[in-house]
């Protein structure tokens, strides 16, 4: 262990660096929420529990299920665990839908970056497949998580995202029967 003065300086520097690192994460997140395009995706919700972060509802987004009958696929055949981009367009019911899935990033529009789940090697072009998006959890206290799971049975639930130009996105809140509940501030 250092001398008392050396230890004081060392620990203050450690605290400043650690506080700074955490502050930078919060600042970047709030900036992304502020600048991203807001979209609402339809989702189912179920309630498991994380060891460190407690209860959350597991999101099952409709846009993750790709049906070639309704979605354009210019880059077939796709492989298992391949990076893809889901192009989104606003739907009539208030939820955004997948309009195309491509292997390269589109030059414009709103799109999300994901990874294909298992695609059989000899899959027919009309065969539906899944794309995994990096949004699977919405954290909430146990009571709220269970409420959301119950609401899921008879109401339309969705998730609000702030989508960046590179296809990454952050969760801004949830939508219950068309009502947007934003969940993004520090206060």
């Amino acid at each position: 262990m250092k001398t008392a003065k050396g230890l004081f300086v060392g620990l203050v520097v450690a605290a400043v660096l650690q506080t700074g690192a955490l502050g930078a994460i919060i600042y970047k997140h709030l900036e992304d929420l502020r600048t991203g395009v807001e979209v609402v995706l339809k989702s189912n919700m179920r309630d498991p529990r994380d060891f460190f972060r407690g209860h959350y509802t597991r999101l099952q987004l409709d846009v993750e299920r790709i049906d070639p009958k309704t979605v354009s696929l210019p880059d077939l055949p796709l492989k298992t665990r391949q990076d893809v981009f889901i192009v989104l367009k606003p739907g009539e019911d208030g939820f955004w839908k997948a309009s195309a899935v491509s292997a390269t990033a589109p030059s414009g529009g709103v799109f999300l970056k994901g990874v294909t789940s298992y695609v059989p090697p000899n899959a027919k072009p009309t065969q539906p497949f899944n794309v995994s998006l990096p949004f699977s959890r919405y954290y909430a206290p146990k009571r709220r998580a269970l409420e959301l799971e119950a609401l899921n049975r008879d109401q339309k639930l969705g998730i609000i995202l702030a989508v960046q130009a590179d296809g990454t996105a952050k969760i801004k809140g949830i939508s219950v029967d068309g009502k947007l509940i934003h969940d993004e501030t520090l206060l």
Binding site: M1, K2, A4, L7, F8, G10, L11, V12, V13, A14, A15, L17, Q18, T19, A21, L22, I25, I26, H29, D50, F51, F52, R53, G54, H55, P134, F135, S136, R137, Y138, Y139, A140, P141, K142, R144, K170, I171, D183, E184, T185, L186, L187
Partner: protein, 439 residues
């Protein structure tokens, strides 16, 4: 625990020495007071403070996991930032008043508050990143605190966090995080080298044990993931282990560059070497596949280097007339035998030769175990001897489950080996008796 064992053993020895007339009762009491009582009280106080610190750390994480929404986010965050700053402040205050154990406990709480804040932020904002990245950030924060405070407790906490990180980033996690396309798991050796350097600088025995265990865990996961052993990495790891174990033994005889941690480190080496050797021996088909593939040149090259380096160490010890020179010979012999076994599998195609190769590999494992027992006896390390016994027993169990050819042949091999060992033991006992009579 080490202190308790040492104290009780010393107590017995002191009583025996007093009975033999080597020391008087006054000297015995003084030695006991100095070594037993003081050691016990210091260690116990430190343990209580550290356990208290761990409980507070668990409380912080449980507080975050509860996702208590009665308090605004900014207050929750402020609470953890406050805990972080306050812990470090109390740690400094404790150290300046001479309460080193208390100071260490609060440094651990401070690192815990940093981790809890990371978890809270990812929970509050529904951050979807990979959990192993969060743990990596936590461990990095722990390392920063370790280096700036030079605290052994912080170092131990960082090593534990590093171990959690590498376990979460293990290849059996299909979505494990990667860096430049390579799984984070494979970068752990770099972290081990960095942490080993810090551990040596701090001269912390506890940290050294934790790091050795963590390294063994990493090796075990690597082994489990690549159990088919079709990759040359296993032979290179084996060669590196032989070389480094040889270097550790050389350090033991020489200037003790690891400040007395040589004996436990040799035992950890023995565990790793035995684990890999038993895995090699038990994977007949894969062994052949790997030897027939391009892996053979890389693995033989690594083993030839290991052979040359460890032989060099033998010659250096011979120059010093060290009694441990003969123990050092085990490393070049192990490297040479492994090369011969690879060559046998590579050049032989028939099933009969394949069986001989399999038997040879198991015999190699049995003798490796016996040699480790001898090492333990020579260096007076119970840990190392136990590793040898365990190696022998595990090799016996796995070879029995695998069956060498047929059960009759397996029984015959055991009987021959057993008979051979009994004959050898008679010779050893006679030599020991003669040397005893001389003295």
């Amino acid at each position: 625990m080490i202190a308790f064992n040492y104290a009780s053993r010393l107590k017995e020895d002191l009583l025996a020495w007093q009975v033999d007339g080597l020391i008087d009762a006054h000297t015995r009491d003084r030695l006991l007071k100095r070594v037993v009582d003081e050691k016990y009280s210091t260690t116990f106080g430190g343990i209580v403070a550290m356990l208290g610190g761990l409980l507070v750390l668990a409380a912080l994480i449980a507080f975050v996991a509860a996702n208590w929404d009665q308090m605004p986010r900014i207050y929750r965050l402020g609470l953890l930032f406050g805990a972080l700053w306050l812990s470090y402040l109390v740690a400094w205050f404790g150290a300046s008043r001479g309460y080193d154990a208390l100071s260490a406990a609060f440094i651990v709480i401070g690192i815990g508050a940093f981790g809890a804040a990371i978890i809270l932020i990812s929970q509050m904002f529904h951050l979807q990143g990979k959990p192993e990245n969060a743990i990596l950030l936590w461990a990095t924060g722990g390392l920063v605190t370790t280096l700036l405070s030079r605290s052994t407790a912080a170092l131990c906490t960082t090593i534990v966090l590093g171990s959690i990180w590498v376990f979460m980033a293990a290849p059996f996690n299909r979505d494990a995080a990667s860096i430049i396309g390579i799984d984070q798991f494979y970068f752990y050796p770099a972290a081990i080298i960095l942490l080993a350097w810090v551990t040596r600088y701090f001269r912390s025995r506890l940290a050294a044990h934790l790091l050795a265990l963590s390294t063994l865990g990493w090796l075990a996961i690597l082994l489990a993931h690549n159990i088919e052993i079709t990759h040359p990495v296993w032979w290179i790891v084996f060669a590196l282990l032989l070389m480094s174990a040889s270097g550790v033994l050389y350090s033991y005889v020489g200037r003790q560059g690891l400040f007395g941690f040589e004996r436990p480190l040799l035992a950890y080496h023995a565990i790793a070497i035995a684990g890999i050797a038993i895995s090699f021996a038990s994977t007949t088909r894969q062994f052949k596949q790997s030897a027939m593939s391009g892996a053979v040149s890389l693995s033989v090259l690594a083993l030839v280097i290991a052979f040359c380096v460890s032989l060099g160490m033998v010659l250096l010890l011979r120059g010093r007339n060290s009694p441990l020179m003969r123990d050092q010979i085990v490393f070049p012999i192990a490297a040479a035998l492994t090369i011969v076994m690879i060559a046998c599998v590579y050049f032989t195609q028939t099933a009969a030769w394949g069986l001989i190769g399999l038997i040879a590999r198991w015999v190699f494992c049995f003798f490796l175990g016996i040699w480790f027992v001898r090492f333990g006896w020579r260096l007076e390390s119970r840990f190392l001897s136990l590793t040898g016994y365990a190696t022998f027993l595990i090799a016996l169990l796995v070879s029995y489950l695998q069956v060498m050819g047929s059960l009759q042949l397996t029984a015959l091999i055991y009987a021959l080996l057993g008979g051979l060992l009994i004959v050898v033991s008679v010779f050893i006992l006679r030599i020991e008796k003669r040397s005893e009579e001389k003295t």
